[in-house]
C-alpha cells in the first residue's frame, strides 16, 4: 500500500467515513444548506438547530466519496455546541489548511488535522471542502435572513 494513500485515508478518516457523526435527522432545524459538486457527484445537506448564538445540534447528510463523507462527519462533530463566531473561525481555518496554507489546528480540533493528507491529491481537495463551504454559506444566509430560502453551493468553482 502506498504511503500517500494512507496519508489521505488515515484511520481517523476511514473511521468517520464508516460511521459518520451527525447522521441523525433534525426535525426542527433553523439553518439548511445544500452543497453539490457536479463533477464528483458529491451531494451534501447540512441542517442546524440554533439556540442563542450556539449551534445546538447539527445533521449532515452526505452522499459522496470517503473524503467528503468524513469531512462532513468531522464537521458535525466539531461544530456542535460551539458559537457562531467560533464555528466561523474553525471553518476558515479548515478552508485555509485544505488550500495549502500552513495553519495550526488547535489541539481540541485534533481530528481535523487528518484532512491535511488530502492536499497531496489536488482533485480531491474540493471533496474535503464541500461540507465546510456549505456550512459557511448556511451561516451567512442565516445571518442575512433567518427565514430565507436555503442556499446551494459548490466547491468546483474554486479550484
Amino acid at each position: 500500500m502506498s504511503s500517500s494513500l494512507d496519508d489521505m485515508y488515515r484511520d481517523i478518516i476511514l473511521d468517520h467515513y464508516r460511521a459518520p457523526r451527525g447522521s441523525k435527522p433534525l426535525p426542527m432545524a433553523d439553518i439548511h444548506s445544500d452543497g453539490h459538486n457536479p463533477s464528483c457527484g458529491d451531494d451534501i445537506e447540512v441542517n442546524i438547530q440554533v439556540e442563542d448564538d450556539i449551534l445546538k445540534d447539527i445533521h449532515v447528510n452526505c452522499k459522496g466519496c470517503a473524503i467528503s463523507v468524513a469531512s462532513g462527519s468531522m464537521l458535525a462533530e466539531t461544530v456542535k455546541g460551539k458559537t457562531f463566531v467560533e464555528v466561523q473561525r474553525i471553518a476558515e481555518v479548515v478552508k485555509a489548511m485544505l488550500k495549502g496554507d500552513e495553519v495550526e489546528i488547535p489541539d481540541d480540533l485534533g481530528d481535523l488535522d487528518a484532512l491535511k493528507g488530502v492536499r497531496q491529491f489536488p482533485v480531491r481537495i474540493k471533496c474535503a471542502l464541500l461540507a465546510w463551504v456549505t456550512l459557511i454559506e448556511g451561516l451567512k444566509h442565516y445571518a442575512d435572513d433567518p427565514k430565507g430560502a436555503k442556499p446551494s453551493v459548490s466547491t468546483e468553482k474554486e479550484d
Binding site: 500500500m1 485515508y9 464528483c40 457527484g41 451531494d43 452522499k63 466519496c65 473524503i67
Partner: protein, 425 residues
C-alpha cells in the same frame, strides 16, 4: 508479427488472427512505467489510449526532417510536410471507406468535429420546431452542441431512451423519428455502457424522413472496422488520441454534397480562395473547413497509428476486445455487490466496463486502485444525462485495448477485493 507499422501501404488486412499481446506490449514504452511501486496497469484507454513507438517516432522524424508549414510552400520541406499531411487524410478516407479524401475534415478531436457540424450544418438547416434526435447515452460532446443549437433556434431535442440492459430502446423509434426530424445523432459505442448501437438500422429510419444522420465514433473507431457507407451515416466523428494516435487530431467525415453546401466554420488562412476588403470567397473542400495552420505534426503521426491498427487488423482487435471484455465481466461478477453497467453479453458491446460498489464511491475506488498501479477512470464520464438515467452520480470504469490482457483483469479484481477490506472492514 509485424507491429512496428511503417509508411508502406498495408497489405490486405490479416484475418482471424489472435493478437500477440506480448509483442504488442513491447511496442508501448509507457507500459514499462511503475506507478506507486507497482507495474502500471493502464485500464483507461477509453479516455485516451497509449501510443506505440512507431507513432512517437513518426513525430520525432517529422520534426527532425520535414517540419514546415504546409499548402502554400514551394520549398522542399513544405512539399514534404504537405505530402505527409495529405497522405494521412487519404489514409483516413480509406480507413473508414469514405469515397474520397475531400470528405475528411481534420479537427482537434471528436468534440470539435461535432461543434463544427452544429455551427455550420446546424446553423444553416435547423429552424424553429425542427426536431433533433439524440440518445440518452450521449457523451456531452454529442449532446451539448445540439442542445445549444436547439436553444438558439427554438428546435426540439428528442431522446431515444435506454433499456435496463443498457441498449437503446427502439420500441418508440417510429414516433421519435418523424417528419419533423431534421437530424438524428447517435453514439456508435457508449463510453460508459460499452453498448454498440445499431447505427445502420437507425439511419434507415432517419432516411425515410429525409433526416441527416450523425454518429459519434470516438469509442467505436478505435475498436472495430468502420465503413461509413455500411453505417449509412452522413457524418461521422472520431479522435486520434483514443486510437493510438497523438492528441490534438480528430476527424469529421461528411458526404461531399453536404460538406459543399455548408458554410465554413473558422475563418483565416488556408480556407479562403480570395480575400478583398469587400468580398471573400472560400477554398475548395476540405480546406474550407481547416482555417489556419493545422496540427501538422500530429496529423502526420496519426498515419502511423492507422498503420499499426491495420497491421493488427480491426476485425482481430474487435474480436480480441470482445473476448477480454467477456473475461472482465465474468471476473468482476465474482465481487459481491459490485454492479456492472451496460450489456452483459459481448456481442454488441465494446471494452469499456463501468461498475459501482454499493459502499464505495467511484472516486475512492479509483484512488485506491491507483495505489496499486491500476489506472481506471471514475466520475460521470462526460455523460451526466446518462448518469441521471442510471440513477448514479458516478461510476468507475475500466477500459481495455490491444495492449491489455487477462492477467491485468486479474490484478484489477484482486485489488478490488483488497479495497473492500480497506474501506469497509
Amino acid at each position: 508479427m509485424h507491429t512496428n507499422a511503417d509508411k508502406k501501404t498495408t497489405a490486405t488486412p490479416p484475418v482471424h488472427r489472435e493478437l500477440d499481446v506480448e509483442t504488442i506490449r513491447a511496442d508501448f514504452p509507457i507500459l514499462n512505467e511503475r506507478v506507486n511501486g507497482h507495474p502500471l496497469v493502464y485500464l483507461d484507454s477509453a479516455a485516451s489510449s497509449q501510443k506505440p513507438r512507431s507513432v512517437i517516432n513518426a513525430l520525432l522524424e517529422y520534426y527532425r526532417r520535414d517540419n514546415a508549414n504546409i499548402h502554400r510552400g514551394l520549398h522542399t520541406l513544405a512539399e514534404r510536410a504537405t505530402g505527409a499531411y495529405e497522405h494521412t487524410r487519404t489514409h483516413i478516407a480509406k480507413f473508414i471507406n469514405a469515397d474520397e479524401p475531400e470528405e475528411i475534415v481534420l479537427t482537434r478531436g471528436t468534440t470539435e468535429a461535432i461543434n463544427l457540424l452544429a455551427y455550420t450544418w446546424g446553423e444553416q438547416n435547423i429552424g424553429e420546431g425542427d426536431e433533433i434526435v439524440v440518445t440518452e447515452m450521449e457523451h456531452h460532446a454529442n449532446f451539448v452542441p445540439w442542445y445549444q443549437l436547439a436553444q438558439r433556434k427554438g428546435a426540439i431535442i428528442r431522446r431515444i431512451p435506454i433499456t435496463v440492459c443498457g441498449h437503446l430502446d427502439l420500441s418508440d423509434i417510429d414516433t421519435i423519428i418523424n417528419s419533423r426530424t431534421k437530424l438524428v445523432t447517435v453514439v456508435h459505442m457508449s463510453n460508459v455502457l460499452g453498448t454498440i448501437n445499431p447505427i445502420a438500422e437507425i439511419a434507415a429510419k432517419a432516411k425515410k424522413h429525409g433526416a441527416i444522420v450523425v454518429s459519434d465514433g470516438a469509442q467505436a473507431a478505435p475498436a472495430m472496422p468502420i465503413d461509413v457507407k455500411d453505417l449509412g451515416v452522413d457524418f461521422y466523428a472520431f479522435s486520434s488520441h483514443k486510437m493510438l494516435g497523438p492528441t490534438g487530431v480528430g476527424v469529421l467525415y461528411g458526404k461531399r454534397h453536404l460538406l459543399e453546401a455548408m458554410p465554413p466554420f473558422n475563418f483565416g488562412g488556408e480556407m479562403i480562395q480570395e480575400v478583398r476588403f469587400d468580398k471573400v470567397t472560400w477554398a475548395e473542400l476540405p480546406h474550407k473547413f481547416e482555417a489556419g495552420t493545422p496540427n501538422i505534426a500530429d496529423v502526420v503521426a496519426f498515419d502511423a497509428a492507422l498503420h499499426y491498427l491495420e497491421d493488427l487488423g480491426m476485425e482481430n482487435i474487435h474480436r480480441y476486445e470482445r473476448d477480454l471484455t467477456a473475461y472482465a465481466i465474468e471476473r468482476l461478477s465474482e465481487l459481491p455487490g459490485l454492479e456492472i453497467q451496460g450489456p452483459r453479453e459481448t456481442e454488441q458491446r465494446g471494452a469499456a466496463v463501468s461498475f459501482t460498489d454499493p459502499d464505495i464511491h467511484p472516486h475512492d475506488i479509483s484512488t485506491f486502485l491507483d495505489s496499486h498501479g491500476i489506472a481506471i477512470r471514475a466520475g460521470h464520464h462526460c455523460a451526466q444525462p446518462l448518469m441521471r438515467v442510471l440513477g448514479k452520480v458516478a461510476t468507475a470504469r475500466a477500459s481495455f485495448y490491444v495492449y491489455n490482457d487477462r492477467s491485468e483483469v486479474d490484478t484489477l479484481v484482486e485489488a478490488l477485493k483488497d479495497m473492500r477490506k480497506y474501506f469497509c472492514l
